[in-house]
Symmetry: C2
Subunit: 344 residues, 2 copies
DNA sequence: CTGTTAGCGCATTCAA
DNA sequence: TTGAATGCGCTAACAG
């Protein structure tokens, strides 16, 4: 158990015969230190393998240099891409990340938020769980001027900073594409309408139907989760419809893949009998047959924008409360699963 | 900017008229405190909304209560399951997690290891990147008696603690299954043989061939990455073979899915012409056609075992150096992609 | 059972 | 340009 002692600024100071405060200043690039002493200090620090002690520093500065990231889940390629984008910016900016995911459970989301609050994070990045009803658990941060940026799953009404795509437009585009392929009876499989991403996509779906004189039918809208068992259930509900749809707009690629699989198992041809459009552009879409038409959702870019927004605010470079909504571009990617025309 | 002051144990102490150390003890469940004062203290702490300051505590205790997790990537369901398992145990045991992933790059792995060392983690959980050549970057932890547990991608020769599956057996089972389905010419798509998981699976593959009097042929072994572009390249190499194989054992499900897709695009029937077995039991295997036969790799259990091993060691419950290798059970899951018999 | 005291390593005010 | 002194909040050794 011979744990070598860590090098501190005192060790450096006494070895050179100067004050610890001078060492501290030199190591923090304080301009009041002469070039000569700075050189001596940095060289010795290097030689001894000095590493600052973040706890002492944080205790002293009352800052943690840590960003808390609150996610609903880690199960999609979209969300891991976002995380990679956040991580890139955070690392560049010398911020640490702590990650909490709620498993789509509002109660756990609250626990994570409280936990991060107690850990005294400098800022928060969050995407809401399925069933989060309010933002009360984020109030504590605002009260202490700890900035919070939401992305993807946000409260659009709230005046908090947020980074989103135009879900309405994406929903419209997906549906309009199905209509252009000749679909006249388009079902919609989505999830909790509490979440902007789903309610907005549904609004876009509805508007596209209206614009093309197709009557909106509540019975064609299925709301459920996106896990395998949920998707199977949704597929069964589609198959149980007296009058089958000829197109489905599903707001999640994995779910779409499972639904397509189940339709095929039931003898239905995709896209000939039912055309399908997914959402997210997960890589799963390229390995299923037929390959999935979907909406590209640039997670990595979104992650970078979110983190950049927060970090710039923390560093006082700009006030994120001024430009509080950033909209990231997304677009329809047409593959096989929706191409009815000329197929049949 | 009215940042309210945090409540400290001094606030509680002075309000009650006792010593701060007593408050500290009471809040840490030190048994030497009388029930009466403990009650007073905990109640007031609750009322004032006291939260301990982890920096002061860490500074004082020279412990961080943080575990560094070094991963190769976050892109498979297996690895996110492992992470979920680790997180469960860590949370239960009041440990924080910091996660670094290398993107399969040994250099970044070294950077992450050094970074975690400087952050003074209490312990390390690691799975090696594709091209990691040595464990030198983990030496610094051992020198300071900071425990390191490896999982999945390990150096089997090293005497470090590790949690693995029996990759040799899994490789043997997968191959023997293909042979039992009538395959006589079995290709193998895998990755860097520097990694135990791949070299062991290959050894199992080889042994199964031998045991069934099939000659091992180097030219049937393809070594590449598992990303989409890698998998496409591997599929092309299969298709370019003069004498096509009638079975392929692929050590990654996503890669297997892409390969199957490409074989089908080339007019090859799976499993009739070529049977395929994957590895990991990612959910992608259930949504492709044919559904993928694979090896179940219980990530969540593995994550829990790894974290439990480390935490118990940290808490002094047991010395993990005594039982330094844990083997987790895995098994073959037969679906459609390998079932040649009676198909043709 | 509880109080006193000291110090973890650092950044910062005030003095020089 | 540098030094001395202080305290961030907490835990632990020691004393009572």
């Amino acid at each position: 158990m011979k744990t070598e002692k860590e090098i501190t600024i005192y060790d450096i100071a006494s070895k050179i015969g100067i004050a610890p405060s001078t060492v501290s200043r030199a190591l923090n690039n304080n301009p009041t230190i002469s070039a000569a002493t700075r050189k001596k200090i940095t060289e010795l620090a290097e030689k001894l393998g000095y590493q600052h002690n973040p706890f002492a520093r944080n205790l002293r500065m009352q800052k943690t240099h840590t960003i808390g990231v609150i996610l609903h889940e880690l199960n999609s390629q979209f969300i891991t891409s976002v995380l990679a984008g956040i991580e890139k910016v955070a690392t560049e900016s010398k911020y640490n990340l702590i990650i909490g995911h709620s498993g789509e459970n509002a109660k756990i989301e609250v626990v994570n938020a409280n936990n991060f609050f107690h850990k005294r994070v400098d800022g928060i990045i969050a995407s809401l769980s399925f069933d989060t009803d309010d933002l009360n658990h984020f109030k504590q941060f605002q009260n202490k001027n700890i900035p919070v940026v939401f992305f993807d799953r946000v409260f659009e009404k709230s005046d908090a900073a947020k980074v989103i795509i135009n879900n309405y437009q994406a929903g419209y585009d997906a549906t309009a594409h199905l209509i252009a392929q000749g679909c006249k009876r388009i079902a919609h499989i989505t999830s909790s309408l509490k979440r902007n991403v789903y309610s907005e996509r549904k609004n876009g779906y509805k508007k596209a139907l209206e614009d093309h004189k197709i009557k909106y039918d509540e019975k064609l809208v299925i709301i459920d989760g996106f896990k395998e068992e949920d998707a199977i259930r949704s597929a069964k509900r589609i198959l149980a419809m007296k009058h089958l749809p000829d197109g489905i707009f599903i707001t999640n690629d994995f779910c779409a893949a499972v639904v397509i699989q189940n339709l095929k198992d039931a003898g239905i041809r995709v896209p000939q009998d039912i055309a399908v459009v997914g959402f997210n552009n997960d890589s799963i879409g390229k390995v299923i047959s037929p390959k999935l038409t979907t909406i590209n959702y640039p997670g990595f870019e979104m992650g970078q924008v979110v983190a950049r927004t927060l970090v710039n605010h923390l560093k006082g470079i700009w006030d994120m409360n001024l430009t509080n909504t950033v909209i990231i571009k997304s677009e329809l990617i047409v593959r096989e699963s929706s191409l009815k025309k000329g197929k049949d």
